[in-house]
């Protein structure tokens, strides 16, 4: 674990894997320090922003983090219904060398967890994707991916909370309320949550 200064009120914690990111995130959030304003996990880092003067307490919490510790299993579980009829479903099946039905089975039977959010409010990067579905982005991104689209890219799967440009391979769509400021919580998926996709026929 390396601590990198990020201005006078934040530290960027750099670790070696997504599991270690989750260990750091869970430890900092779990410490419930009043001084902590934001905890932002990403692929290999956790950004911890505090109020003025809060950095010393955060560093003490970080010194006590056990990077090998898996989360204790009290994660929230979210089920996302998906219609598997995405425009890239056949491409994903071809690339994996399997049938379309097998893509659907693999994607819907796996259990995922939200590694981090970014790109747009409520856009969660889910890990736990079966190896066969680890696939590159499209050669040229779409200028508009409809809201609710479910896609895969690299080791991640995700659902687009709103229409944006995007280069992920789209395999389905959901009508789950992924991000709605009038709901509490606004985001359906938050870092640390466990997620399953349910086939809608």
């Amino acid at each position: 674990m390396r601590l990198r200064r990020c201005g006078d009120r934040a530290v960027l914690v750099e670790v070696g894997s997504l599991d270690e990111v989750e260990a750091v995130r869970a430890a900092v959030v779990g410490a419930r320090l009043d001084e902590v304003v934001e905890v932002v996990p990403a692929a290999r880092t956790v950004l911890v922003v505090t109020r003025d003067g809060g950095q010393a307490r955060v560093r003490r919490v970080l010194e006590g983090v056990d990077l090998g510790r898996r989360s204790a299993g009290e994660a929230r579980e979210v089920v996302v219904p998906v219609v598997y009829d995405g425009p890239d479903l056949a491409l994903v099946a071809d690339t994996a060398g399997i049938a379309v039905e097998e893509v659907v089975r693999l994607h819907s039977e796996a259990v995922y967890s939200v590694a981090f959010c970014g790109f747009a409010p409520g856009f969660g990067y889910l890990v736990g994707l079966p190896e066969a579905l680890h696939q590159p982005r499209l050669d040229s991104p779409r200028t508009r991916v409809p809201a609710g689209s479910v896609g895969v890219a690299g080791e991640y799967t995700a659902a687009y909370p709103r229409a944006t440009p995007g280069g992920w391979r789209l395999i389905g769509r959901t009508d789950a309320p992924l991000f709605d400021v009038h709901r509490d919580p606004a985001a359906l998926l938050a870092p640390g949550d466990r997620v399953r996709f349910e086939v809608v026929r």
């Binding site: 990198r4 200064r5 990020c6 201005g7 006078d8 009120r9 934040a10 960027l12 750099e14 304003v37 934001e38 905890v39 932002v40 996990p41 990403a42 692929a43 290999r44 880092t45 956790v46 950004l47 922003v49 981090f116 959010c117 970014g118 790109f119 747009a120 409010p121 409520g122 856009f123 709103r162 991000f179 400021v181 009038h182 919580p185 606004a186 985001a187 938050a190 870092p191």
Partner: protein, 285 residues
């Protein structure tokens, strides 16, 4: 219900308060006024709490009607404030039906207009700020928009002289190195010897700079950085070496290395800097 009506917005008028905190992990930018001292001053002048919502007016041109008696203050760069053609100093009173017009600000971009009671639009995620990056908060104001006012909680503050914000011809901006200063050749030397101007492509997301290209260390030239969390004030350096300083509507994560971070106290002036303003950095280890 007490209201004010926006008759003309000018180039851009937005509702802003101190922004939303605590939602970055969900991908929600902080948003909020770019020049927070000017916002809180305007609020104080009309008797509002510092975090009340007010108008952030880009490049003047606003024309507003009071639909009820209220106290108004305009802060930020020097700007003509006219009521029935008469110049007014802030704070001032408007009777129901009276109208105020803003001219074009000098030596700055953004004026803050606070109304007693504050703008009482519906908050989203704890803030009334319009976030132009992610579309959270009220839509940017349009001509004819009616804005509800909250209850008046305090007494306007009387002042004799208000010192306007003034962006100097050349900004000297402190930068605390990190987190990715190691990606760059002698970052202190490059930052302190470079010079830039503020690009017209700057906005509430960030101030883009044009000038000296910051050079990466040889071994980082073709490296890609996995996206990581960003703070407001982060100086991000994309592949072409032209830095950008992130402001309130910045994305929560980014994939280019951040060479350093501008401290919060130096950000209000950056949010006021007109395109073409010269800028130098003063790096601090």
């Amino acid at each position: 219900m007490r209201t004010v009506t926006v008759l003309r917005t000018g180039p851009q008028a937005l509702v802003q308060d101190l922004g939303r905190t605590g939602f970055a992990a969900l991908g929600v930018p902080p948003s909020g006024a770019l020049d927070t001292p000017s916002l809180t001053l305007a609020n104080r002048l009309v008797g509002n709490p510092p975090d009340a919502a007010a108008l952030e007016v880009l490049l003047g041109g606003l024309h507003l009607r009071a639909d009820a008696s209220c106290t108004v203050a305009v802060t930020g760069p020097s700007v003509d404030v006219l009521v029935d053609g008469v110049h007014r100093d802030s704070p001032f009173h408007l009777a129901a039906g009276e109208e105020v017009r803003l001219g074009t600000p000098a030596h700055g971009l953004r004026n803050y207009l606070a109304v007693s009671g504050g703008l009482d639009v519906d908050p989203q995620l704890g803030s009334r700020s319009t976030d132009l990056l992610s579309g959270i908060g009220p839509d940017p104001l349009a001509d004819g928009h009616v804005l509800p006012l909250g209850d008046v909680l305090g007494v306007p503050v009387g002042v004799d002289v208000l010192v306007p914000v003034r962006v100097p011809d050349e900004l000297v901006v402190p930068v605390l190195l990190g987190p990715r200063e190691g990606w760059f050749n002698d970052p202190t030397f490059q930052l302190s010897n470079g010079s830039w101007t503020v690009s017209e492509r700057s906005n509430r997301v960030g101030v883009r700079l044009v000038g000296t290209a910051l050079q990466r260390e040889e071994r980082y030239k073709s490296r890609e950085l996995p996206s990581e969390g960003l703070v407001t004030g982060a100086v991000q350096v994309p592949a072409d070496g032209q830095p950008a300083v992130f402001l309130a509507d910045h994305p929560t994560t980014g994939g280019y290395p951040v060479i350093g971070v501008v401290p919060e106290r130096s950000l209000p002036l950056l949010g006021q800097a007109l395109p073409g303003t010269r800028l130098r950095f003063r790096p601090q280890g």
